[in-house]
């Protein structure tokens, strides 16, 4: 096997490496915004952005699974709302308040301690509700042959309605939350926010799943060529179903992160968030037609959106263009995806030029 002969191909792969490109874009963005407002590029703020983007990354990972099999899910925020609301109600109903004394600065101080259903149980409940919603979506799409956009548009309406019904019109507030739940996204381990750690855990688990298990690779197989997948014995419907279930599970988990972070659950929680999630995936190089996408790319795509959002907040604070924010956001996303297309086209041209005739 002559490796020398195929060197150009390897070089092409390196150039095509969009993760590298995205990282550069990300660094450039941080640098540019940092020039306008030095407070932006501080380690503290950057870590804040990472923490703030964690939820988006978790969701984008799930959306990636769904997009890989050539489906889509726009019911994500409704799944988050329903899961968080279910867990929230359980937590509220089991809440116990006790006055105790805690040690603050070496002195005993009076404090109220709130306990409720153990956090792991709540997380399990929310993830379960989310997974059930995802399963439902998957069933409609894979077995009911309802087109993904239609099915999840419908389930978005339904799930928001359900979360309203079970809430009885009552939102869940900080006073209804156990201390453990409030601290859930606020812990600090080794200098890292616990949201970041949870995101990293989800990222690693999903990376192992997608890149190192046969079930994970089937997501790609089904999205790349469903007919071929069927012929090699892959149950394409089951794969689609599981992709949606994973999405639902992660949405349930993200709903809890969101609720803990915001200190509240409302029945219209995260409305419109699905667009950011999809945009993160697309910027990260996931193809909406399925079969293409890398998990690192998705994380970088979500970070890009996080940097843009936070950057616009920081920019406006030194400038004065609150009203330009939305338009800039739209334009940046548009430019990002169009740039992707040009990069891909240039790569294709290079491959063609290198092809021997």
């Amino acid at each position: 096997m002559s490796t020398r002969q195929f060197k150009p191909l390897r070089l092409g792969r390196l150039l095509r490496n969009r993760e590298l490109g995205l990282t550069l874009v990300l660094l450039a963005l941080i640098g540019l915004i940092g020039l306008r407002n030095p407070a932006f590029a501080t380690p503290g703020n950057l870590q804040f952005i990472l923490g703030d983007t964690s939820i988006l990354i978790v969701l984008a990972l799930g959306m990636m699974c769904v997009l890989l099999v050539g489906s889509i899910d726009i019911s994500v925020p409704a799944v988050m709302a329903l899961s968080a609301m279910t867990a929230g109600i359980v937590m509220k109903n089991n809440l116990v308040q006790a006055d105790t004394q805690v040690l603050v600065d070496g002195a005993l101080t009076a404090a109220t301690v709130k306990t409720s259903t153990p956090l792991p149980l709540l997380l399990l409940l929310a993830a379960g509700v989310g997974a059930a919603c995802g399963l439902l979506n998957g069933l409609l799409i894979a077995y009911g042959r309802v087109l993904p956009i239609v099915a999840t548009l419908g389930s978005q309406y339904i799930l928001y309605g359900l979360s309203h019904l079970i809430s009885g019109g009552q939102a869940i507030y900080r006073k209804d939350m156990s201390d453990a739940f409030i601290q859930f996204t606020r812990g600090n381990v080794l200098g890292f926010n616990s949201k970041v750690l949870i995101m990293l855990a989800a990222f690693l688990v999903l990376m192992a799943f997608i890149n190192y298990t046969r079930y994970g690779r089937r997501l790609y197989a089904v999205g790349s060529n469903a007919e071929a997948a069927r012929m090699s014995g892959i149950n394409t419907r089951a794969v689609t179903l599981s992709a949606h279930t994973i999405m639902g599970l992660l949405a349930g988990l993200a709903g809890m992160l969101y609720a803990s972070h915001d200190n509240k659950v409302t029945q219209d929680m995260a409305m419109g968030y699905e667009m950011y999630v999809i945009a993160a995936c697309v910027i990260g190089g996931v193809s909406v037609t399925g079969g293409v996408g890398k998990i690192t790319g998705v994380a970088l795509g979500a970070l890009t959106i996080g940097v843009i959002n936070n950057g616009l907040t920081m920019l406006r604070l030194t400038g004065n263009s609150e009203f330009w924010k939305k338009a800039i956001q739209g334009a940046v996303i548009l430019i990002a995806i169009i740039t992707n297309v040009y990069i891909k086209r240039a790569h294709e041209r290079r491959v063609l030029r290198e092809r021997r005739l």
Partner: protein, 335 residues
């Protein structure tokens, strides 16, 4: 052909039925609020309930799922269809519901706006929770007292499109002109769109961009809660002072741990209660909504109607109530 047939069939059957019945019925009031599921409005509905038990009227209430103007129009049209005698609305967009409310008034329906007003030409009376000037003033007084009358402050508002927000901020700025506030600098006004995560980000941005920031006023329930979370998360509780208009149920914990040492809000139950009494008085013809009239608002006593300065009239419910770590316990489960 089949298509045409099906259409005709549907039309014919729809035509065949169409009788409206009307009889002597109790007074019926339609209550419209900004958004379903918001505890502030749930509490206001309780005020209507209280009044309805005292006065014996019927009322129906509804709000859009997404706090949109279009959703409110849809609801108002539904109320007109149900032939309510009065509509009491807290408007998402002061101008956007004027047309539909005018058609309601053309049909003899009385229109009262409460909490968040409708433009004068679209209402018979506005019920302000408090005098706007006072609302602006007390918050400035509060923050000045908390920061010791010196330092940078910022305002975290809802959206740049909200009329009541802008009015309050205007009065805050007027108040800050006074010589006793010379050492206080209002550095910026930012907008969190009444979204928790966006408000949180804006607050975070303020913390990062203004290291010397001493205090924040957030005259919106969503904003003040998000700001409290952000300040607490940054470990700056007590270092950056916070006040604003907040829901006791949502802010209870932050008052308890003194992230916020004092905030204001009016009593939504009273607000609904007064709005209900005004509606009934107007339907019964006891008042027309003209300046100089007055009506009896149950246990809250007589309310005077005066000129609002926007071409319409208004009355107020009372002064904003100050919530403090000391009194929060008794309020946190009320609304």
């Amino acid at each position: 052909m089949k298509r045409i047939l099906s259409l005709m069939l549907a039309a014919a059957l729809l035509l065949s039925l169409g009788l409206a019945v009307s009889a002597e019925e109790p007074i019926k009031i339609g209550v419209v609020y900004k958004q379903t599921g918001n505890p502030f409005f749930e509490a206001a509905v309780r005020g209507f309930e209280e009044a309805s038990q005292e006065l014996g009227f019927e009322f129906i209430h509804n709000g859009p799922a997404d706090s949109s103007n279009e959703g409110q129009i849809q609801i108002i049209e539904g109320f007109i269809q149900q032939e309510v005698d009065a509509i009491a609305i807290s408007a998402n967009d002061a101008a956007g519901v004027v047309s539909v409310l005018q058609t309601a008034m053309d049909k003899g329906i009385k229109v009262i706006s409460w909490d968040s007003k409708v433009l004068a030409e679209g209402r018979n009376l506005n019920i302000d929770p408090s005098v706007a000037q006072n609302i602006g003033r007390v918050q400035v007084e509060e923050i000045a007292a908390q920061i010791g009358g010196e330092g940078q402050i910022a305002v975290l508002s809802a959206a740049a499109t909200h009329d009541n927000q802008n009015t309050w901020i205007k009065y805050m700025k007027e108040e800050l002109e006074k010589p006793e506030y010379d050492k206080i600098e209002l550095v910026t006004v930012v907008y969190g769109d009444d979204l928790t995560d966006k408000s949180y980000q804006e607050m975070q941005g303020l913390i990062n961009s203004y290291p010397d920031l001493k205090g924040v006023i957030s005259p919106t329930t969503v904003g003040v809660a998000a700001a409290a979370v952000a300040i607490k998360d940054a470990g700056l509780s007590g270092k950056i002072k916070l006040t604003g208009l907040g829901l006791p149920s949502e802010m209870a914990d932050f008052l308890a741990d003194r992230t916020c040492e004092g905030m204001y809000l009016w009593n939504p139950i009273d607000l609904g209660y007064v709005a209900a009494y005004a509606s009934v008085a107007m339907v019964k013809g006891e008042i027309t909504g003209a300046a100089g009239e007055s009506f009896e608002a149950g246990h809250l006593g007589v309310r005077e109607i005066s000129d609002a300065g926007d071409g319409g009239t208004f009355t107020i419910v009372g002064d904003p109530f100050r919530f403090t770590p000391e009194n929060i316990e008794e309020w946190k489960n009320v609304y």
